[in-house]
Symmetry: C2
Subunit: 305 residues, 2 copies
């Protein structure tokens, strides 16, 4: 089965303590779509300007990502510039230019509306809802979000949450959304807002997954070096959604989501090893299985009864 991915597509300028690169392929939908493409076919919905480099389009195409939903319009592509601090755990946004993204209304091609797996990657919750309005039979809908929308569009986000099966957000955002300091409480509180499942990303500390009376704690892959954390969360969400779509189960279960979270973590662990999506260009299915098995060994301590 296919997964529909909607989100931002942009050109990023990223500075870390050791390097700086300009005009990199970026945006939540770029990371999520490429990550998902390692598991399933992908229908991409997004917008870029006429300045968007052709090689980036070719890269999507090489990953067999369907581009009927990619609008290329007059004007400039969305741009983001950010800087990571010493430990790569915190970053500052240096500038944002919305450009063509400012008047983006995601209108789905007719053949996309029946896509059964939907990943609403990080964009304004009103746009995420607008996409969902056009879906005829979504089987499993995942939304990602960020602190910005909790700050400036909380009502839109709360309205969206009633319509999605799963929310993905990071630890700070989970605390911000609920006012709970305990992530365990926060995960449970967010489920009350609508999503049956909640994944709280904790960066180097892994990820917590909450279901109805079910809980999964996934350790992060033990990386020694991170080169660029940009897009780690989007890559996680894409891998998770792509894995689910690849199974085409009649119902997504908690047990399936455990594996999906691990695959998402594996994809993210590779992505942070290089700037932009560079590591994804050479990634293989064997690489993915290798780290999946490493995480399996790293979490094992007994037999379940």
């Amino acid at each position: 089965m296919s997964v529909l991915v909607v989100g931002s597509i942009g050109l990023d300028t990223v500075k870390t303590p050791v390097a700086e690169h300009a005009d990199l392929l970026g945006g939540s939908a770029s990371y999520a779509a490429v990550s998902a493409s390692f598991f399933s076919s992908v229908n991409l919905v997004g917008i870029v300007g006429e300045d968007f480099p052709k090689p980036h389009v070719d890269f999507f195409d090489s990953r067999k990502i369907d581009l009927c939903g990619l609008q290329i319009v007059p004007g400039k592509t969305f741009r983001w510039s950010g800087e990571y601090h010493t430990d790569l755990n915190t970053r500052s946004t240096r500038s944002i230019e919305f450009n063509v993204f400012e008047h983006f209304t995601p209108t789905l091609p007719a053949n996309y509306s029946g896509t059964q797996y939907v990943l609403l990657a990080n964009i304004a919750p009103s746009l995420q809802s607008h996409v969902l309005d056009q879906m005829t039979q979504p089987r499993f809908v995942i939304a990602d979000t960020m602190d910005l929308w909790i700050n400036i569009a909380k009502d839109d986000l709360l309205a969206l949450l009633k319509r999605v099966d799963m929310l993905i957000l990071n630890d700070g955002e989970a605390r911000q959304l609920t006012g709970e300091n305990s992530l365990i409480k926060a995960g449970k509180e967010i489920r009350k807002l609508g999503p049956k499942y909640v994944a709280i990303k904790k960066g180097e500390h892994g990820c917590l997954l909450f279901g109805e009376n079910e809980f999964f704690s996934c350790g992060a892959f033990p990386l020694e070096d991170i080169h660029d954390p940009t897009g780690a969360g989007d890559t996680f969400a894409g891998g998770l959604a792509g894995y689910l779509a690849s199974l085409n189960h009649t119902e997504v279960t908690f047990q399936t989501l455990r594996k999906a979270v691990v695959y998402g973590s594996v994809l993210a662990s590779y992505n942070v090893e290089a700037f932009s999506l560079e590591r994804m260009r050479s990634l293989t299915a064997a690489d993915i299985e290798h780290r999946f098995n490493t995480l399996l060994a790293a979490s094992h301590f007994g037999e379940t009864h």
Copy 2:
């Protein structure tokens, strides 16, 4: 088999955002010995003053902890006072009175020197070494430490590390000891200092265990409320050591240590539910197995090959 536990025994005054209690049973050896006692017999080595309340001695005794190595001397018991801040993740020491601890030289009773499992709970590394000097055939030696000793007694600590099988420390201390920001790098670096195994405690994020080309990531028990984090690390170390001693294997393996880390985490998860060691008074073997199985379920996502 028995485990020998040496460390501090004290009276704590603890303030959290919701409560304050004075003259509580505390100290690294108190927490570690009681925790270990749920798995094996314990030989306790420590010192208190004549003001040490008899009920605390009776509590140790009720846990079948051997007290031949407990020195009760003229003077006042070691006292510590600390305050936890809003999220309970940071604390300030308000006062320390070393009292009888200032001139403590741990001399082992003759029947202790052959104990095969040794937990050098958190005290000055010179005292930890002094205890080790008196052991005739230690099979597995675990040391705990803290930031204070890395700051003021690093040479003593480095000398000790060459003689122990395992070091337990928290994430901040691992970074401080190695100068590495990555905990994965830090764990590997510490192994080069001597210990075959290193456990890095991460509080609410669980624990990382490093061996030779082996790695285990243990998630924390999903607690919603923490009442007093004091002694969590000591309780972790005690449960870990007690579990190892209970097996009496000819050799401690990485697979055994995985389970030991989980049992340590389980004991710590109970201990932080109440002030001092109060939760330990009613804890049962069934409680321990219950949370062990919960952690097993919370970490499971596939079969190891």
